[in-house]
Each structure stands twice: as structure tokens, then as C-alpha cells.
Amino acid sequence: MIINELERIASQVRRDIIRMVHGCQSGHPGGSLGATDIVTALYFDQMQIDPANFRMDGNGEDMFFLSNGHISPMFYSILARRGYFPVKELATFRRLGTRLQGHPTTAEGLPGVRIASGSLGQGLSVAVGAAQAKRLNGDKHLVFVLMGDGEQEEGQIWEAAMYAPAKGVDNLVAIIDYNKKQIDGPTDEVLNLGDLRAKYEAFGWNVLEMSGNNMQAVVNTLKFARGNAFQGAPQLILAHTEMGFGVDFMMGTHKWHGSAPNDEQAANALSQLQETLGDY
């Protein structure tokens, strides 16, 4: 898909995020907006998937796991826009009886979701398990997982980070949404992550870096990562992103991590985001 088309989809996804979070007056817009380009590129261009025939087992296709489940508005919008479930269902986000729970779950049977996430630190391990299943099955597709940067503070991340290279899990691409912000403030202040690149390299990962809000860079890097697969080591992409990307007043601050815009703020945000595919 040409870059311009992906950017148009991403614009609509960002509108969906604002409208969903505004609609129920809760949710996590900042991280959702920042990670939109990465996951749009995965689902609309880079992953080999079959949305019309969603299979829980993911056999014979690429798989994606969202470890930082709080950026669910982005995930839901992309799944719906990609055809996993009706776009109009986005209006039910976080409302009683919805399949679009606050954090993603399989309990309500939403197509596209394979495991619950929300409690942080688990997704990388799940992805390693799924990747090993593919190896056992002789399935040459890849497993992708998106994590938060604050999530790197969870100890379990480093259990999985140690395991995957040691066991040669080389059909795995992990991506860190490296926006350098978390709920309480900048990651540097909350708990300095140090040199993430050096840490993962020391654990045996092949580390790539990209500008996570530049669609061309995202596509190029994901392509490069696929080319590097099956060469003995898992891959880690440090995606330099901006929390709140696309909405000026939501950028440069951690304040929109988990806050919903009011009517005026939502209107302001939507005025900055082109409606490209039709609002739900």
C-alpha cells in the first residue's frame, strides 16, 4: 500500500480514538494516538492476515499482540477499519455489555483479540509462546507484539527478554512504543529506563530504531525486520513516538495518558484530523 493511503487510514483511526474516548468520557487517548502509525502499518500493509476469517489459533498467518492493553481505542479502531468487526461497534466502547471492553479481552468474543491484556508485562511472554508454537508447527509467519516503554519497568519483561534470544526465537518482532512518558510523568523521572537499546542488545536481541510517527520510516523498518527474521535472534524495534501525536494540545505532555477530552477539546482535536474513511 502506498504511504499516502496508510496516512489517510491513520488519520481516520485518530478521529475514531478521539470520538471513542470522548463518547464514553474515559480511556487512554495519548498512547493510542502515538502508536497509531505503527499498528496501522502492521495491519494494513505489513502483516499477512485474513481479517474476514479470524482464527483464534493464528495458524498460517502473522499474529499481533497488544501488551499495553490500555491503548485499546487505537487497537479497536484498526481492527474494525480492517474488517474484523463492524465499524459502528466502535460506538459501544467501554459501555455496559460491549465487546469493546476498557482493556482488550477474549471474554466477549471480539474478533481480532486473542488474549486479554491490561495488567502490564505479560504480552512479550505471550508472544514468545505463540512464536514457539509457530516454530513447532513449521509455520513461517511472524509474531509481532507492541509494548509500552513504561511497561519495560515490569520485571517479567526481562524474563521474556532473556528467554527469547537464549532459545533462538527468531520469528518474533517486539516493538516498544518509546514515547518516554507514563502516567506519573516522564519515564526519566518516574524510573529511568536507561539505554534500552544497549540493554536489549546485551540480552541478545537484534535492535532496530525508527521514527514511529513517520509512516515511511515505519513501513521501511517493519519490512527490514521481516527480512531479518529466521536468522537466529528475535528483533526489537525501538519506535520513537510522540504521545498524543496528531493533536497539538495532546503532544509534549503525559497529561493525556488516561484522560478524556471535553466537548470543546474533542472538537478542537477533530478539527486537526481529516475524516478520510467516514466517521462511525
Binding site: 477474549t106 486479554a116 505471550v126 508454537a133 513447532l136 517479567q156 532473556m162
Partner: protein, 317 residues
């Protein structure tokens, strides 16, 4: 039931044999172990199916979630470590990625209870049944001897859904039939009686078996039922038996809070209130000692079951 002792074996070895058999029957059965392959008796499986065995190192959280990820693709993963590290240490992982996500993961938990012995309270978990039974979608199985643990392991592999399988370290009398089909959720009648019902699980089943002749001499005709599946609880069997005997003793190597007795009490309070006594650990941690010493010290032995029966029968009258 024939109570002849066939041999003395550890229930963990029953798990090891059951896992191997399950692996032979179904190529989708895989196993993870967090550096306790010998303790969990998983070595034979690892040797016969090296590609289906995953040594995780001492990283239980990663192990549980990898198992959940692998279950997605149709595999039947067993995770193996001590019960203490199979539950409390990984409760959040099990809750979100196994129970809530309803993944087909089998959590094999060895060295449960005080009979772990000398290692002491850090390893002697007495709260695990409670933690696991509180989780929606989770099945909780506590077999009583080697044969039953082997058969329960095979049954767990054939069952679709999360299972917590609890067993132990010491060699104990092995008396249930070899290759008896294990039916999850179906209580096992060991001896019919009329005066009192003893519901037991795990190692305490044999302790209750030993109480039967003592009670008989005292003129008490006790019914003994092995509740090897704590959840789902066989309510029909419980109510049918208690409807006849009208008083109950429960026996388990677990805290009173959250254990088998707690489950039985809930059923009876709601449906058939009657006198009840609980042989269980009462809100304290364990300590170092031999298994036999500890069972005595924590009042989990045959004389304790006998005393509880005497007490509850007196309360009935």
C-alpha cells in the same frame, strides 16, 4: 473400595507418568518447566519429546504467559513448578492470561502443603486451592495418590480449559485402581456409611481411610468421599450424602480459609445446614520438619479426623 496398599509412591511421580502418557496420546501436549524438572518428574517427557519440552529457567511468570501464548495455536501446555510458585507468584498472569482469557493451560503444582517438609513455610503453600478456585473458568483438581494423580493428569490433558492440578512430594500409600478413568467433577465414593460424611482431598484421603476402622470400633459408621475435584464441586454427591448422614467432617492439607471445607460449607449453608467440623490448617504458616511430624503438629493426622468425627456426631445428637 479396596483399600489394599499397592505400593508407596509420590503423587508427583504419578504426574510425571501421566504427562508422559498424555504426551504419547496427543502430539499437541507440550510441557514447560521452571528449573524443577527432576522435582516434578518431567524428565521422561523431556527425554521422549525434547522438541515439546521447554526449560524456562527460574522465571515462572514468563512460563505461564508463554504457555498461554502456545495454547492459542491448539497446543495443550502443562506448566511445572512447586505449588507455591505456580499460584501466588504468578496469580496475576494466571488471572489475566489463563483464566480470564480462558486458555487451555494446565498448571501442574507439586510440593503442595506441609508435607513438602523440611524446606519450611516459604515453600509449603496452604492457600493455593483458595486462590485458584476463586478464579472463574478455573478447574481445581487435588488427587489423592499416585494412580489417581496419573489418571487425573491424563484427564486434564483431554479436558478443554484451564486446570490447576495440585499434588505433593512424599511417598504415600497408593491404593486407588490402576488406570481408573478419572472423571473431573465427579466425587469418588470410597466407603458408604450412615452416621457422618467425611469429605477429604489429597494426602488427607488416606489419613481418613485409616480413621474408618477406628471409627467402626467406636460404633460410628462413617461415609468417606474423596473430593478430588474441588471445582467444579460435585454438589449432588455432597447433598446426597449429607442428606443421609446429617453431619460432616472435611479433611485437607490446606488453610481452612478457601479450602475444601470452605467449599463444602458454602454448599451446605445454602442448601442443608448441619453440624460440620474442619480438619485443616487454621490461619497459620507452616514450618520445617518431616512430613509426618508436620501432619501431627498441624492436626492433619488420622487421630485428628477421628476427634473431629466424634465431635460432630455429638453435635448432631
Amino acid at each position: 473400595m479396596d483399600f489394599t496398599i499397592q505400593n508407596n509412591k509420590d503423587t508427583r511421580s504419578g504426574f510425571g507418568e501421566g504427562l508422559l502418557e498424555a504426551g504419547r496420546r496427543n502430539p499437541k501436549v507440550v510441557a514447560f518447566c521452571a528449573d524443577l524438572t527432576g522435582s516434578l518428574k518431567m524428565g521422561d517427557f523431556a527425554k521422549e519429546f525434547p522438541k515439546r519440552f521447554f526449560q524456562t529457567g527460574i522465571a515462572e511468570a514468563n512460563m505461564i504467559n508463554m504457555a498461554a501464548g502456545m495454547a492459542l495455536s491448539g497446543f495443550v501446555p502443562f506448566t511445572g513448578t512447586f505449588a507455591a510458585f505456580s499460584t501466588g507468584r504468578v496469580y496475576d498472569q494466571i488471572r489475566q492470561s489463563v483464566a480470564y482469557s480462558n486458555k487451555n493451560v494446565k498448571i501442574a503444582a507439586s510440593h503442595a502443603g506441609v508435607t513438602l517438609g523440611e524446606d519450611g513455610a516459604t515453600h509449603q503453600i496452604l492457600e493455593d486451592i483458595g486462590m485458584m478456585k476463586m478464579l472463574p473458568n478455573m478447574t481445581v483438581i487435588v488427587p489423592c495418590d499416585f494412580n489417581q494423580t496419573k489418571n487425573a493428569t491424563i484427564a486434564a490433558a483431554e479436558y478443554e480449559g484451564p486446570v490447576y492440578l495440585r499434588f505433593g512430594r512424599p511417598k504415600v500409600p497408593n491404593f486407588t485402581p490402576v488406570d481408573e478413568k478419572f472423571v473431573i467433577g465427579k466425587a469418588q465414593m470410597l466407603q458408604e456409611g450412615t452416621d457422618v460424611t467425611i469429605f477429604a482431598c489429597g494426602h488427607l484421603v488416606w489419613k481418613a481411610v485409616q480413621a474408618l476402622p477406628i471409627l467402626k470400633e467406636m460404633g460410628i459408621n462413617a461415609e468417606l468421599i474423596n473430593i478430588h475435584t474441588i471445582k467444579p464441586l460435585d454438589m449432588d454427591a455432597v447433598l446426597k450424602s449429607v442428606g443421609k448422614t446429617r453431619c460432616v467432617v472435611t479433611a485437607e492439607e490446606h488453610q481452612r480459609n478457601g479450602g475444601l471445607g470452605d467449599s463444602i460449607a458454602q454448599v451446605l449453608a445454602l442448601n442443608m445446614p448441619c453440624p460440620m467440623e474442619m480438619v485443616a490448617v487454621n490461619d497459620v504458616f507452616g514450618q520445617s520438619g518431616t512430613p509426618d511430624e508436620l501432619l501431627k503438629a498441624y492436626h492433619l493426622d488420622t487421630p485428628d479426623i477421628v476427634e473431629a468425627v466424634k465431635k460432630v456426631v455429638a453435635r448432631k445428637q
